[in-house]
């Protein structure tokens, strides 16, 4: 028998003849009867869970008017669903009532179990307190550790800065030391120098000879004061005055003992007197008598000087 036929019977939609035939069949067939009964369960459950299709829903609700027992069945199904839902939840969680019942059962097992339970609870409480305290202490130590790490980082940074400063100071110190050593050496050298007589004359290396114009043009050589050359004098600076009426040119040349010692030296006019300056090696001056001839720019002899030289040892 199809589900459609079963629904037709359960919704009270069969004719009398159809219904009688249907009932005779399920009365004689246990399997068929349970098929029908289970179909009714499914319709009722579907109705309560809102899963009936609109057509079946209307037929189902219409059948309730004729079948009062079905209304009891709906009421039963409703609490069975609640019971199943409670059972499903009960498998996962413990209700407050069940907890209360658990405590009641614990305390109904006599003084030994009560004592053991109280002891266990106290131990649990102490353990919890200890763990809580340790946890707080751990938190405090953790904070201290963090602060300490911060300070360590600062100090490392400062040490880095100080190291750099120290390196710079070391370099400065080394430079100062070198400078001090130089100064000490200089001072030592100066002290060594100061060990000589303070008033000793400095070592003279050049001598000066001024030759004034005193004679006439074309006359003999002008008398010159003798030149004293000390030991160590290597050069002699000569300033030779010239006659103011030199005919041509502003340059002159000089011959010492026949050797040219100055050529085309520019003449200097100072206060109406002309002169030329030049330097000759001291070695070119002979002891006692030397002849110095000055020629003008036209190579004409302007004046001749006789220089007496005395060399000391």
């Amino acid at each position: 028998m199809s589900e459609t036929e079963i629904d037709k019977y359960l919704f009270n939609e069969m004719s009398e003849a159809e219904g009688e035939d249907f009932e005779d069949k399920f009365a004689d067939d246990d399997a068929f009867f349970y098929e029908i009964a289970e179909r009714e369960n499914a319709l009722v459950d579907g109705y309560l869970r809102g899963r009936l299709q609109s057509d079946n829903l209307a037929r189902f609700e219409r059948s309730l008017a004729d079948l009062p027992a079905r209304r009891d069945k709906i009421a039963n199904a409703k609490i069975i669903h609640e019971f199943i839902a409670d059972g499903r939840t009960g498998n996962k969680t413990i209700t407050i009532a069940e907890r209360t019942s658990l405590f009641s059962r614990i305390f109904s097992f006599g003084p030994k179990l009560q004592f053991a339970s109280v002891t266990a609870i106290l131990i649990l409480a102490l353990a919890s307190t200890f763990l809580w305290t340790e946890n707080r202490r751990l938190g405090s130590l953790d904070q201290e550790l963090t602060a300490s790490r911060g300070r360590e980082a600062d100090l490392v940074s400062k040490i880095g800065d100080e190291s750099q400063t120290s390196s710079e100071l070391t370099a400065d110190l080394d430079a100062e030391r070198r400078r001090r050593e130089e100064l000490e050496a200089e001072i030592a050298r100066l002290r060594r120098t100061n060990d000589h007589p303070v008033n000793a004359a400095p070592q003279t290396t050049i001598a000066a000879l001024v030759l004034p114009w005193v004679g006439n043009r074309g006359g003999s050589a002008a008398p010159v004061r003798p030149l004293k050359l000390d030991t160590g004098v290597t050069r002699v600076s000569i300033v030779a005055s010239l006659p103011s009426d030199i005919a041509t040119g502003d340059v002159a040349s000089a011959l010492l003992n026949g050797e040219a010692v100055a050529e085309n030296v520019k003449t200097v006019n100072r206060g109406g007197e002309k002169s030329i300056s030049f330097t000759v090696p001291a070695a070119k001056l002979k002891p006692e008598r030397n002849e110095l001839i000055i020629r003008d720019g036209n190579n004409a002899v302007v004046v001749t000087y006789i220089i007496a030289v005395t060399k000391t040892q």
Binding site: A27, D30, A65, D66, D72, K73, I74, A75, G87
Partner: protein
Amino acid sequence: MSTLTSSSFQILLTRLASDPAEAATKYEALRMKITHLHRWRGCAESRADELADITLDRVAVKLAAGEKVENLNAFASAVARFVWLEHSRKDKTIDVGDDLPDVAVDPDLDFLDDPDQRMKCLRRCVSATLTDEDRSVVLGYYDTDADEKTKNSRRRLAESLGVTANALKVRACRLRIRLEKCINDCVGRVTDPGLSNTKQQGVA
């Protein structure tokens, strides 16, 4: 009409099965079917058992009177229809419920009785009439949270019990019928208040 006697009842049992135990089982099965027939015909829950007993008594009397019956179950079904017809004609307002609307739309189920009392009855009946395994079968089979899940969970339940799906369906249905009968016996007869003399069971 003849009344039921012990001999006529014995004749009925013998006709159902020669073994007394098997006969008793078949008698209870036939009674359950007759009860449902009356409900599906429109009998109130509170009267279904009574009419089933009347039906079977008449069947026994008929058998004792020498009525030739080829198919006892079909014969009982026919008698049940007569009993229902008689009953509905005699007290139509009670069983059909003239005070009920022609079309019941979205019925308020809470008016039927006290849901808390019915739940207490259910819990008591689960403890009293179901074994742990029966309870697991009912909880597992009718936990119809979702259609697809239902199919799978029922298949797994049948596998765990080592039975076929059809055998599981029959067993679950039989347990539900037993459970609902226990609940109906437990709660007050609210759908048929005219039957104040109907047996009621209180709930602790």
